[in-house]
Point group: C2
Chain length 410, copies 2
Amino acid sequence: MALIVQKYGGSSVADAERIKGVARRIAQAKAHGDRVVVVVSAMGDTTDRLVKLAYQISPQPSSRELDILLSTGEIVSSTLLAVALRDMGYAAISLSGAQAGIQTNAAHRRARIMKVESRRVVEELERGNIVIVAGFQGITGEMDITTLGRGGSDTTAVALAASLGAEVCQIYTDVDGVYTADPRLVPEAHRLAEISYDEMLELASYGAKVIHPRAVELGELYNIPLRVASSFAQGSGTLIHGGGSMGASGMEVRNKVRGITHNLNVAKITIVGVPDQPGIAATIFQSLAQAGISVDTIVQNASINNITDLTFTVAKGDLEEAMPVIEPIARSVKARQWVSDSRLGEVSIVGTGMQNTPGYAAKMFEVLSRRGINIQLITTSEIRITCIIDDARVKEAVRALHQAFEIEMG
Amino acid sequence: MALIVQKYGGSSVADAERIKGVARRIAQAKAHGDRVVVVVSAMGDTTDRLVKLAYQISPQPSSRELDILLSTGEIVSSTLLAVALRDMGYAAISLSGAQAGIQTNAAHRRARIMKVESRRVVEELERGNIVIVAGFQGITGEMDITTLGRGGSDTTAVALAASLGAEVCQIYTDVDGVYTADPRLVPEAHRLAEISYDEMLELASYGAKVIHPRAVELGELYNIPLRVASSFAQGSGTLIHGGGSMGASGMEVRNKVRGITHNLNVAKITIVGVPDQPGIAATIFQSLAQAGISVDTIVQNASINNITDLTFTVAKGDLEEAMPVIEPIARSVKARQWVSDSRLGEVSIVGTGMQNTPGYAAKMFEVLSRRGINIQLITTSEIRITCIIDDARVKEAVRALHQAFEIEMG
C-alpha cells in the first residue's frame, strides 16, 4: 500500500468551507487505499496577523516567544482538518511538529530540520489514522519550539516524505502547476507536466511562487518526486523529479528551454573605480548582510590598472537602506563614484538541456537586441541565463523569449 | 521574598494595548521584589471563536482535537505577555500548561487537575524569570492536551499557587471586587473588603461572576488567600480567605448577611400527583442529565396518601428541551399533571454568620411579603437562604433586602 504525503497551503485552508474541501480531497487519496500523511499551513493570513500582533507589543519580540506564538497557527489548522476528516467518518489525528518528530536546530524563526523521528507518525498510520501534521514548526533538543521560516511547511512535507519513504509528496497550492512563464504576462504560457529538480530550483529562485526552493533541494537530496497541483481544481499539476523526461515527447526531442522567469523587483548599485584589492568586496557585502540586506546578482568587471567596477543588485525596497551602508565604504576605498538604478527587472531562460548545447545565450541576446532592449547585466548558471533590463521592458521580453524558444508542452 | 500568583482574564488581555497594560501591572509586583507567576486566559473572545470554527466544520468535533485547538488561545496570550514584559526589560518566559506541569485526568473539555509538577516553574523563577503560564489547559499521563472547562484559568492559578506555596493568588478581572449585591440593581451596593471562602462559594454559585467556584473550593482546600481585583483600575479588591474577619469592624460586630445575589434565569417544572415510590425521582433526574440539562433547586413536598408533588428548576433556555424528557416519565408513573413556569428568578441572602443565628429567614420572608412578592420556592444551605419569585420582582426584592439587612462595608 503506497504512502503519500500531501501538503496544503494557507489559502487552501483559509476558512471552514475550504478545510472541508481539503478533507474531501484527502478522503479521495485514502479511498485509493493509500496511507496518507498531511502537512498543513496556518489558515489564510494567520501567521501575518500573529506577527503583527507581536510587533504591536514590542519592536523586537523574543524569537523564542515568537516561535511558540506562530506555531499555534498550524496547530489550529491541523486540528480543524482532523475534525473535518473525523466528521466524514475517517480515522484521523492531528500532531504538532514536535509530536511528529520534526527535530530542528535552535535557530528560532529560521530553524533547519536536523532529523525526523517519525516513530509516532508511523504508529498512527499503523492504527489506520490519517495523520495531520502541523507544518512550519519543529522542536529543538532542549524542547524549545522553533519555526522553519519561509517555505517551512513545504519543507516539513518533503522531510516527512523522505523519512517515511513516501512514494510521492504532493504540494497543493493555489496554482495548478509550474508554467513555462507567468500566464499573466504570456497568455500562451502553459503548464509543464514535468520538470527536473534543478530546473525547478532555477524557476523557483527566480520568481515562480509555487514551491519553496528549500523543499525542492530536499526532494532532490532524497529523490522524492514532488507533485505540485491546485487544491481548488482537479488536474495532475506538475511532477518535479530527478529522472529524465516522462513526457510524451521523449528525452531527446525535449525542448531545452523549459521556462522563462522574470522578476520586476530589482535595483542595481554600481561602485565605479574601486581599487582591486583583496577584502574590499568582502567589507561591502558583510556590511550589507549586517544591515539585513540580501544581495542577489554580483558582477565585477575585469580590472584595468588595478581599478575595477563592482555591480550588484538588491530588492527595490532595500535600495534606500543600502546606499548609506555603501557610501562610507566607497569613500574610504576612494572609489570614483557610486550610482544606483531602481527601475530594473530581470528575465531568465531555464532548462537543463542548455548546459551541453551552445547558442542559447546568443539567441536570447539577439531576441532582446532585435527589440532594442538594452541588457544591463548578464549572469548565468549551468541551466539558466539571466539578463537584467529596464523594468518597463520585462513583459515584452518574457513574451518575445517565450515565442522565440517555442517552449512546448513538457 | 514573597511568591505571588496572578491571573488575568480574557478581557484583560483582549488586545495589544491591554496586554501592555497587564505587563505594567506585573512589573509593579515584580518591583516590590516578589517572585511572580502569571496565569493568563485567551485574548477576548478567542475561545468562543475557535469553538465556533470547529462546529462550523463538524456538529460533533472530536474532544481530543478540540482541546488541542482551544489550548492555542492561551498559548498566544501567554507568549504575547512574555514579549511585552521582555520589551520592558524584564526577564520573562511563557510556558504552556503542559510545560508548567499541570497534570490532569483524561476528561477532555472538562479535565480535573490531578497534580501540579511545578519543577520547571520553580527553575524558571530561580533563573529570575517572571513565569507566564497558559491557563485553562493541562496534559494527561498519555501526553494528550486537555482543557479544564469553565473557570479553568482561575483553577490553574489557584492550583499553581497551592503547589508553589504562594502567599496569595490574585485574580484580576473586569470588576473591582465582590459586591454586596449587583450594583446595576442596587446603587447602594458596595465592595466587600473581605469575605470567607464559603460565603464566596454561595455568592459565586448564585450569580456573582467574579471567580469560578472551582477555584474558590481549591483555594479553601489549600488555604490560599485569593484576592479578586480589577485589572483596569487600582484598588485592593476583595480578599477571599478562610480566617475570621480582617475588617475594621471585627468579627463579633460583623454583619451576618454579607451579600445578596440574584439570578433572573430560572424556570420551574412541577410534576403534580406523583406516586411516592423509590426510584421515580432518580429516573427523572438521570434522564435530564443524559439530555445535558442541569437541574438546580429540587423540592419535594411532603407525601400525602403516598402521593407527592415534585418541583425543580432549570435554566430558562433548557425548559423547551426538558419538557419532552419529562412527559413520557410523568405519563408512565401516572402523575396527575405536569406544569412549567418560565418567568421566574431567584434572590438569596448569604453569610456565614447566619448559621448560628435565628431569625434571618423570617426577616427575609417578611421583607418580601410586605411588598406583596409571592415566594414560589424556598431552599437553604447553612449560609444561604434562597427564594424563588416572579422574575419581574427580582430587582425590587434585591434592593429591599439590601436595605433591610443594612449590609455594611466588609
